[in-house]
């Protein structure tokens, strides 16, 4: 990991990988909202960081000025040339639909959405529940666990593997690749290794599905025709890689952050145990307070936005987590209210790039919390053992030691 020079001035020289931002971005956003609500940095690349709800959602809807062509928060080689480190089908469109603008965005998204519809997601509930119970059985009698590594991290990757039709036995390998790409994006070697691993794996899987089609997402992408034509190999590969990348770190982080909150706030944990009917509302509140994902946009032409001289090619970091903590949009935003009735949070984004897997993520988070609370209703942070957080594109706990009776 490259050395991060400590940030002195968050308004003009922010760094989302500064350890203070990773562990406690909330006070930094509060200061920025009050003094300079759209911060700037020249670290790595000229980038802007909006912190107000209205600015974040406004920019998310202005797809003419803010393209999704390059969505990595930490710029890398593949930002310039997706095939830089990969000798395979042409990935000029990156990982559509997340890295695409209309019209490519529109039709690639329509191919994915039915796999994550609420009806389809309902059918993944039994598998998710069984998975959570199996994990809990391994440590429930032990009195302590790493709620991130032993539990949260293990759930979404296995569900998404099932949907993609790839082997859940490779879950640890998938997790490693996804972490290399997202969490260690500042380390060119790891980033390249993860990207290559993922793409080459899916290249092989697609070849296999061509010969032996199944009822999985990969097989469907290969046999789908759009306007009478099969989908380009590079686009199928990008979509397949996207589903895994987007379906692992993100929800795992949301489950981990939620368990961290409940471990650190016994009054909320007790309330949720006593009032399980609050769960659906509580899940939305935990998503609001601990939204894991920041995505980038690229400025398409020089514009002045709320006094900020944005240049074509600049990045704008879509700070959905900060939007969710804006006091102009939420009453007492830094207080988690498990029964918050009015909650237009944007943990899953806003506008045409609303997370395509949001129904799945929400279900996984809810089932993971329900099963944990049913099995281990009493738990707390382990004294003297540190929780560690990952940040940047996706924020969540990576080591979360908890103890229970």
């Amino acid at each position: 990991m490259a050395h991060i020079a400590p940030v002195q001035d968050w308004a003009t020289d922010f760094d989302v990988l500064d350890p203070r931002y990773v562990s406690d971005p909330f006070s930094i956003w509060d200061d920025l909202r009050a003094s300079c609500p759209i911060a700037h940095t020249d670290r790595r690349k000229s980038s802007w960081l909006p912190t107000r709800y209205d600015d974040v959602t406004d920019i998310a809807h202005d797809i003419a000025h803010f393209s999704s062509h390059k969505v990595a928060v930490i710029p890398g080689d593949e930002d310039e040339d997706p095939n830089a480190n990969f000798d395979g089908p042409d990935l000029q469109y990156g990982l559509p639909p997340i890295s695409a603008d209309p019209p490519l965005h529109t039709w690639t998204r329509r191919l994915l959405l039915p796999w994550f519809s609420h009806k389809r997601v309902d059918s993944y509930v039994p598998l998710t529940r069984e998975l959570c119970r199996g994990l809990l059985e391994q440590f429930a009698d032990r009195g302590h666990a790493d709620a991130a590594a032993d539990y949260a991290q293990q759930i979404p990757v296995r569900v998404i593997a099932r949907i993609l039709g790839v082997s859940p036995d490779l879950s640890d390998t998938f997790t490693g690749w996804v972490r290399d790409v997202l969490e260690f994006a500042d380390d060119p070697e790891r980033r390249q290794r993860g990207g290559e691993g993922l793409l080459n794996y899916f290249l092989g899987q697609l070849e296999d599905r061509r010969r032996h089609p199944g009822d999985d997402l990969l097989s469907e992408l290969l046999t789908t025709e759009v306007d009478g034509q099969p989908v380009d190999d590079g686009i199928v590969l990008g979509m397949a890689a996207l589903v895994l990348i987007a379906g692992v770190d993100t929800t795992w982080s949301a489950i981990g952050s939620s368990l961290w909150h409940l471990a650190a706030h016994p009054e909320d944990r007790r309330r949720l145990a006593a009032e399980p009917e609050l769960m659906a509302t509580a899940v939305e509140e935990l998503l609001r307070a601990y939204a894991p994902v920041t995505m980038a946009r690229e400025v398409t032409e020089d514009i002045e936005y709320h006094g900020c001289p944005m240049k074509a090619g600049d990045k704008v970091l879509m700070n959905f987590p900060a939007a969710n903590r804006d006091p102009a949009a939420f009453e007492q935003p830094d207080v988690v209210r498990l029964d918050r009735a009015h909650n237009r949070h944007v943990a899953f984004g806003s506008g045409i790039h609303r997370c395509a897997g949001s129904n799945l993520a929400r279900m996984e988070l809810q089932v993971a919390l329900e099963e944990w609370m049913a099995c281990i209703p009493e738990f707390s942070l382990a004294e003297g053992q540190e929780t560690t957080w990952a940040g940047g594109q996706v924020r969540g706990p990576r080591i979360l030691p908890v103890v229970f009776p």
């Binding site: 959405l113 609420h118 009806k119 939305e284 237009r344």
Partner: protein
Amino acid sequence: MKIRVDSEKCQGHARCYGLAPEIFDVDDYGQASVLLDEIPPELEEKARLAVANCPEYAIEIISE
């Protein structure tokens, strides 16, 4: 009470369906629709909750 979903604004967050499946459906592509021409009084509170939780401001009360 009558309500509608603006299909141009709806982006498929499905918050309305989650809060009030008696009132809303969401299709395979995330597009929400209102199942009831007239919202009965006992569901009005739920309809208002859906309005207040839509991140896209896509649900509108046409008449009270």
